[in-house]
Point group: C2
Chain length 274, copies 2
Amino acid sequence: MALEQIDGVSDSPFPFDIATAAPSKLRAIFRSGAYRGTTANMANGHTQGNLAVLPASHALDFARFCQRNPKPCPLVGMSDTGDPMMWTLGEDIDIRTDIPSYNIYRDGVFESSVSNISEFWEEDSVAFVLGCSFSFEEALMQARIPMRHMEINRTVPMYKTSIDLVPSGAFGGGMVVSMRPMSMEQAIQASAITARFPHTHGMPVHIGDPAAIGIKDLNTPDWGDPTEFRNGEVPVFWACGVTPQNAIQQAGLPLVLTHTPGSMLITDIPSAIG
Amino acid sequence: MALEQIDGVSDSPFPFDIATAAPSKLRAIFRSGAYRGTTANMANGHTQGNLAVLPASHALDFARFCQRNPKPCPLVGMSDTGDPMMWTLGEDIDIRTDIPSYNIYRDGVFESSVSNISEFWEEDSVAFVLGCSFSFEEALMQARIPMRHMEINRTVPMYKTSIDLVPSGAFGGGMVVSMRPMSMEQAIQASAITARFPHTHGMPVHIGDPAAIGIKDLNTPDWGDPTEFRNGEVPVFWACGVTPQNAIQQAGLPLVLTHTPGSMLITDIPSAIG
């Protein structure tokens, strides 16, 4: 799909309903470079994923890291070494081009965001796709559990915690969590619902006391925006996809490619499978 | 624990109730070389696992193979490269000695069974532990679902199927399944129960028609013994741990070490976690 065609139809790059669009239709637009924004609320019912591209020399350690820390690092797909086609996750997915925006990290330091990573893909590159919270948020909203950060149009608050990850090679550190306020009744219901989604962080890691997991002040998140509590609500904490991003950055590899936060890979996998 | 001490107590190498024994107590006996048999009905409530030791050169492909085929290959633990201590699965587990019996395969061909693999463990060895059916059978029996092969004192029947695995490198082929007869009502209940145990093969892959998954004759299993059907019972098929063993053998690597079928690693992980 050519950019000109899309621009010809409307100001939005999407001349169709993004919520019900097929993943392949959206990926074709991302591949063209016409859109570099968030994939939130797109292709509802399909698993979205975080990306990390590492050299084969560190891929086994990272696979082990994911296996050992399935809540923050739910591995939904791995490319074959050097092969950019993510054939286990859908039809014709080229991981170098089919995400709206990528981040380049050199020696653990952010360098730039780009619309495709073709020039950085090497013969020894391995792409890892990890589940993200978009799918479980969809399931929670269907159960009328509030997503306060969406209601007030902010980014979900994320916090560093004192929960140690199980290390593997250069990868380790602490777990990062996201937090959503809700009633205790809703928190219990949300625990049962998200238990069915092991590939998108699974059950909460904590309900209630931020100090119990090393969080000093809910009003000063390490990433995202502070949120609002209503009468009697408790904070509910889930393992967060920033955890592996953080671990990868701290490992300080010469070159790591990731998605730009919020701009995910949209797979063909139904999210209900979890 | 020395062999002489154990022999001094009774004819059994176990002077205690094996069903309720702590995993560490049993592993100490296996480490001593005093027992080379099955681990069935031992340390109830703890995850048991299949073993495969591969060289690092094939470890990333095998990790991918497990990620892509979670039902037959539910990965519960990976050692660090060259480190025989399975510290993510329990206290003081030395994978070279703590399983009752090991099989040695050279170029894909069975060579011998041994009571420890210390002399074969190399600096580039990686141990993979995969979940096995013992844990889910325990949960099914608690729900009064029949385990016919146990009632008639036989090995569960296992069959090659026409279900293709998702390949990775040298690893691929068809899925192997185990089969248990039960009423359709029990089959539905068993599906719901085993869905909670993704780390021990999860839900059935098929209920009812053997031909639908390429099985010609239930009376001639490829491994194990034929079993008995009672009035109105249907066959229920689960992905089986022989699948990865089979895939590894077919890959024909120079040297692969596995557990001897039935003689599993007993971990400290509660099986209820799945």
